[in-house]
């Protein structure tokens, strides 16, 4: 199984990287870009079959290690 975890800053938290990316794109002439946000995507290879259990496990991994829940949100997707 695979778990795909997307981690992004919570709404309202300053995202300096996103801002620099948007500016960088504007500077290159991409003026249609109004804003940008940068997040992380983590892909885990998991052994086991039980998707429900896996999701529970991955959620706890996010809370304990992968995401900084003070400033970040995360979402989880389990795939075969």
């Amino acid at each position: 199984m695979k778990a795909i975890i997307k981690i992004g800053l919570k709404p309202g938290v300053l995202d300096p990287q996103g801002r620099a990316i948007a500016r960088g794109l504007n500077d290159l002439g991409y003026n249609d870009v109004k804003d940008a946000r940068q997040g992380k995507i983590i892909e885990l290879d998991l052994v086991g079959e039980d998707k429900v259990e896996a999701e529970k496990q991955v959620k706890s991994m996010c809370e304990k290690l992968l995401a900084n829940t003070v400033i970040e949100n995360f979402s989880i997707q389990i795939e075969d």
Binding site: L9, K10, V13
Partner: protein, 748 residues
């Protein structure tokens, strides 16, 4: 006062529709009933929520220093070299040749516990702004850190986050982090301390201050946009007049060192012109405290149009804008006619900039938002009527003076020394400082890398340098706040002396528990009094500082921790020293007498697991005598290496010198006291120096002539660290023990 209240009545009608100010809301804003009464009186009416928020932050402990103000007032704050003492963003001292050094230390304890990386990072950013606000280019950073016990489940995460945050910010901005200190103790399990210090260099004649002047002068906002970051306490109140959606909640402040770097360059560029009348960074309580301070100091009024404030989010309320703690922002009063110049410079550096207001002659802070006046209060009471409490305090009861004879002597010195050299407070902090860029700017002459007593940073393009150190020994302060207070100031003075500098002035960061408890207040008062006595003895004034109270969890307060940052001058880099230079054939001389004080020592704590006893008394006269002599020896090139003898006593001091110099040493057993008192006693006013054979007699005889205790304690050479029959350990083994402790902890 009467005049201003009638004025506000007149303007009351124009105020925005307001939420009812209930007793709960007042309480949530940390205001007492009496304080609220003063507000009612000064306004002549009920405040609206914006006004209440502004009073609340201005009268908070953080901004008003209400618990500590009357005691801070005792400090020696003036001196021949002081250009600006406490009261501005940072202190300013004169180091000759038209150069001024501007410095300050500040805490970011609570935010660093909640979010260690961002908390520490924004702490570094904040203290840098205090320094470049005054026209200085930051040239060095220091950090004083206290963590809980190493085994505590949170400690490792906190250490790695805090260190990464400090490095992440300082490295990016390009200011070297040249030193600091790190302790671990269970007393900080629930409340870590992150104190950051910044030192900057300015032209003595171009120091900038925060007092707004004149009427009709434009007020500029520059830096990052304002978001809902860290809006002070009163979360509930702000939620009440918004819908309670997730994305309107106040959030943790995130540092943006990139913007800070641009802000430094832009401000310094603008400061090179004559466009700035006054300038103030937006620190705690951002727009509120910066505008009120500027208006109050200049005796003027300020009107701001909040619609002009660059905003990161939609639908921000005046309350949110005024209380937001978004980072990397500055406020300045610009000379009329220079607006375009300022705009051009800020735009070149790609910063958000806006003219958001104007100075007035009303003496009032007036805020406009969407065509309405949303706040209209007299400025003077915000500062003048801020509470200045005389909190009850009890003196800390004295601890017993311990006699070395009553303390168990180790039967295995090899083992004791190995344990001490690898104990949390003494083990190498390389794991930490290797994450800091210590060399950027090309002027770091000495830094953490040598394990030295003070960092040395050259004044660019010259042959002189500043020496910088931070120190406090919390276990001494806990046992005896007064002696501990003396000791922390004395230790910085000694450390600056060790590198050959003339100590000039200090900054401080007073970290304590809950001041509403008389015992804690007693610690605060004791430490301040002790510090002040030392400052006066050394003619070593306090020029800036910060107070952090309520560092406690479940009634468990931190040990009193008045961190002191000392700054001195090395007038000529031809004469300085470190602990690295001990050479084969050198003789080790100890300046200062060893009586063998073991109370509150590292030996007692690490080897015997005892934390009792009175700390070593500090004889300030002796400190001066011995220190001045050591400095003279350095300038006369009589010494190859110098190290202050403190934590862990003679044995640890000598081993640190051996490790730094990469050569063995031999120490002699004592004749007058027992071994553990001799090797591990922490008597003050002592320096270990390494001198060449032909200097031994002159050094000792001159000392005798001056009534200074100086004795030969050992020699340098070989690859072992030994004491007559007492211990014998290879330098490489000690190095490994010393170096491995922290990486092992962090990798475990």
């Amino acid at each position: 006062m009467a005049k201003s209240s009638s004025k506000s009545k007149a303007s009351q009608k124009k105020l925005a529709p307001k939420m009812k100010i209930t007793p709960e809301i007042i309480k949530e804003h940390g205001l007492s009933k009496d304080e609220y009464k003063i507000i009612l009186d000064r306004l002549g009416r009920e405040p609206n929520i914006n006004e209440l928020g502004i009073f609340s932050v201005m009268w908070s402990e953080h901004c008003s220093y209400k618990s500590s103000r009357r005691h801070l007032g005792k400090f020696l704050v003036t001196g021949e070299k002081v250009i600006q003492g406490p009261g501005e963003n940072a202190g300013v001292i004169d180091i000759g040749d038209n150069d001024a050094i501007i410095f300050k230390m500040e805490s970011h304890n609570h935010p660093s516990y909640i979010e260690p990386y961002q908390g520490a990072a924004t702490g570094v950013g904040g203290i840098m702004r205090d320094v470049f606000t005054m026209g200085a280019r930051p040239i060095a950073l220091m950090n004083a850190l206290r963590f809980g016990e190493p085994e505590h489940p949170k400690t490792r995460t906190l250490v790695s986050g805090v260190v990464a945050g400090i490095g992440g910010y300082g490295n990016c901005v390009g200011v070297p982090t040249v030193g600091g200190e790190t302790n671990f103790h269970k007393g900080y399990n629930g409340n870590i301390l992150v104190n950051a210090m910044c030192v900057g260099l300015a032209d003595k004649n171009k120091v900038f201050y925060s007092a707004a002047k004149g009427v009709g002068n434009p007020i500029f906002y520059v830096g990052s946009k304002t978001g809902r970051d860290g809006i002070h306490g009163a979360t509930m109140a702000s939620a009440e007049f918004d819908d309670d959606s997730e994305d309107k909640r106040p959030t943790v402040q995130v540092g943006d060192p990139f913007t800070e770097k641009l802000l430094i360059e832009a401000c310094l560029e603008l400061m090179d012109t004559d466009a700035i009348i006054a300038i103030q960074d937006m620190g705690a309580a951002g727009l509120t405290s910066s505008s009120v301070e500027m208006a109050d100091k200049g005796g003027v009024g300020i009107t701001l149009n909040l619609d002009k404030v660059p905003q990161r989010e939609t639908d921000m309320t005046p309350y949110e804008m005024m209380l937001s703690e978004s980072q990397e922002r500055m406020l300045m009063v610009i000379k009329p006619g220079k607006e375009k110049l300022a705009l051009d410079i800020f735009q070149k550096w790609e910063l958000d900039v806006a003219e958001i207001g104007v100075t007035t002659d009303t003496g009032r802070l007036t805020l406009k938002h969407k065509g309405k006046i949303v706040c209209d209060i007299p400025v003077a009471p915000l500062a003048d009527d801020a509470p200045n409490l005389d909190r009850p305090f009890v003196k800390t009861p004295p601890q017993d003076v311990l006699n070395a004879e009553d303390i168990i002597e180790t039967q295995d010195y090899n083992d004791a020394i190995k344990r001490m050299i690898s104990c949390p407070d003494i083990a190498s902090k390389r794991w930490i400082w290797e994450q800091y860029d210590r060399h950027v700017m090309s002027d770091t002459i000495d830094s953490s890398q040598s394990g030295g007593d003070a960092a040395i940073v050259r004044i660019h393009g010259s042959n002189k340098a500043v020496a910088i150190t931070t120190d406090v020994t919390p276990r001494y302060c806990l046992a005896d706040p007064y002696e501990g207070g003396k000791q922390c100031v004395a230790e910085t003075w000694r450390n600056l002396t060790c590198v050959g500098a003339d100590p000039i002035a200090i900054t401080d960061c007073l970290n304590f528990g809950n001041p509403e408890r008389p015992e804690i207040m007693g610690q605060l008062v004791g430490c301040i009094d002790g510090m002040n006595e030392a400052c006066r003895a050394f003619d070593y004034p306090v020029v800036s500082g910060n107070v952090s109270l309520y560092n406690e969890t479940n009634g468990q307060a931190i040990p009193p921790t008045p961190a002191v940052g000392g700054v001195g001058l090395i007038p000529d880099l031809a004469y300085f020293s470190s602990l690295e230079g001990a050479k084969k054939g050198d003789t080790l001389i100890l300046i200062g007498e060893t009586k063998g004080w073991l109370g509150a020592s590292i030996y007692l704590r690490e080897i015997l697991r005892r934390e009792d006893g009175a700390p070593p008394p500090v004889n300030l006269g002796l400190e001066k005598l011995n220190g001045n002599y050591v400095r003279r020896l350095i300038r006369n090139r009589r010494v190859n290496a110098v190290h202050d003898c403190s934590d862990g006593g003679l044995a640890v001091t000598a081993i640190e010198m051996a490790l730094a110099s990469n050569i063995g040493i031999h120490l002699k057993n004592p004749t007058h006291i027992s071994g553990h008192a001799w090797y591990f006693g922490e008597d003050q006013a002592r320096y270990l120096i390494s001198v060449e054979p032909n200097s031994v007699n002159p050094v000792i005889s001159t000392a005798q002539g001056l009534n200074i205790h100086a004795e030969i304690v050992g020699s340098v050479g070989g690859d072992m660290v030994s004491g007559d029959n007492a211990f014998d350990i290879s330098l490489s083994q000690l190095r490994k023990l010393h170096e491995d402790w922290l990486p092992n902890l962090m990798n475990s």
